[in-house]
């Protein structure tokens, strides 16, 4: 493996140099992490049957989520501070949701739930039922303003009918990335 790393190293550095200077360190770390993921021999899988809903081994970030992580400079270490495990069966680790108002917290929660769902099934969606349940749990459910809050932040979600599931838009994915980083930073 070391020989292969030596052979690939120059190309990795070449790629890192294409990133803006302040992001080069993060880019290097992420590319190297991806390289190790791709080139490390897979560990023997334990025999138990893994059904469709079975929790994956820790660290098993689904491929569909990786572009989101790369685009937002989120390393596995950062992700692990917000979700555990970082694959199917993911749970939100935060004991409280970041935000300075109930509405703000609700929106942030919805974005985090979409990422949680993506870790589960590769789609950045969340049902309103799940959002309400978690909002009650995290004490940010303001029922008379629930719909209005989501409507006021509709740019974070793809267009939808009233009562339909939420799906993250481009700005929503970006904002979700920021929230994950702020949780990881302990803000």
């Amino acid at each position: 493996m070391l020989d292969k790393l030596k052979a690939d190293f120059d190309r990795i550095i070449e790629l890192v140099n294409k990133a803006p200077a302040p992001l080069q360190e993060t880019a290097f770390k992420m590319i190297l992490e991806q390289w190790f993921n791709a080139n490390t021999a897979p560990k023997p899988v334990p025999p138990p049957p893994g059904g469709p809903g079975a929790p994956a081994a820790p660290g098993g970030v689904p491929d569909a989520v990786k572009p989101f992580l790369t685009a937002n400079a989120i390393t596995t270490e950062i992700l692990e501070k917000a979700f555990h495990p970082t694959g199917p069966g993911a749970q939100l680790l935060a004991s409280s949701i970041p935000g300075n108002s109930m509405a703000n917290k609700l929106v942030n929660l919805s974005l985090l739930l979409c990422v949680k769902q993506a870790l589960e099934s590769a789609s950045f969606t969340c049902t309103l039922k799940a959002l309400r349940e978690l909002a009650v749990h995290y004490d940010c459910y303001d029922s008379p303003n629930f719909s209005a809050t989501l409507k006021a932040n509709k740019n974070y979600y793809k267009p939808r009918e009233k009562g339909a599931d939420l799906e993250l838009s481009g700005p929503g994915l970006k904002k979700a990335g920021e929230i994950i980083k702020s949780i990881a930073a302990g803000e």
């Binding site: 555990h84 069966g89 629930f146 719909s147």
Partner: protein
């Protein structure tokens, strides 16, 4: 009909009516438009009230109280009536609907689907001994006994931990406990208990907290995994003793996700 959505819509409208009533400079509410809005909101409320009454998620008393307040408010809306009476009724309807009906309904409907979610998490488990505890635990959750569910699910964890540690042999186990006691590392230096077991079942006398610490010592768990398992044990202890803590279905789901991943499906415990 989406009950939660409809209740949110009704509340949104009531809060708006409440604001408009408060803004009135007159002592009574006489405007035709405002009175019509009260009646329209009531039309939205009635089918939801029927569904809530037919289901068994919310308690009958607050539902009756809110229904009575609606009846009284619709009577007020038949003519010009004192603003003070509107304000009192609106306050009852809004607060009770929110806390006693809607929040309870959301938690209750989470309970109705919790069984499926938990079964999905434990689906890969094949050990009949574990499934015995887990099945009973899930049935508790489905009947709103969340604390009982937490305690019973921990029985499956304890069973698996005991089985794994017993498989080491009593002599090794005693030796490992002694080594852990002698370890002055950050994680183990507070462990000061002497355990000397003669037979496998003796281990059941040991505190679960010490057994999982030994699992950490034996590197079946890393620091983060140990921390989360300790959190699950704390929840179990909170639910198995008289405390005021009442976990909700969201907490139960997270607890299940942790124990399955950390122990029940962890190959190191196989």
């Amino acid at each position: 009909m989406d009950v939660a959505q409809t209740l949110e819509d009704v509340l949104e409208e009531l809060v708006s009516i409440q604001k408009d009533v408060n803004k009135l400079k007159t002592a009574s509410v006489s405007g035709q438009a405002l009175r019509k809005r009260v009646k329209d909101a009531n039309k939205k409320w009635l089918p939801v009230a029927g569904l809530l009454e037919a289901g068994n998620i919310v308690d009958t008393a607050p539902l009756q109280e809110v229904s009575d307040a609606w009846t009284a408010m619709v009577k007020l809306a038949n003519g010009a009536s004192p603003k003070k009476q509107y304000k009192a009724l609106l306050k009852i309807i809004v607060t009770k609907t929110e806390s006693e009906l809607l929040h309870k309904f959301i938690k209750g409907s989470a309970i109705q689907t919790i069984g499926d979610t938990l079964r999905k998490l434990v689906q890969p488990i094949a050990d009949p001994e574990l499934l015995k505890y887990l099945d009973e635990s899930i049935r508790c959750a489905e009947t709103k006994c969340v604390r009982a569910s937490v305690v019973l699910a921990w029985c499956a964890v304890a069973h698996m931990v005991h089985k794994k540690l017993t498989s080491l042999g009593i002599a090794t186990l005693n030796a490992e406990f002694s080594k852990m006691k002698a370890d002055k590392g950050l994680m183990f230096r507070t462990f000061a208990k002497d355990y000397v077991f003669s037979t496998g079942p003796d281990m059941q006398e040991a505190a679960d907290a010490h057994l999982i610490l030994l699992c950490r010592f034996l590197t079946y768990l890393d620091d983060t995994q140990y921390k989360h398992l300790k959190g699950a044990l704390d929840l179990r202890n909170g639910c198995g003793h008289p405390t005021g803590y009442q976990p909700d279905p969201v907490k139960l789901q997270a607890y299940y996700a942790d124990i399955t991943q950390l122990v029940l499906l962890n190959p190191k415990f196989a």
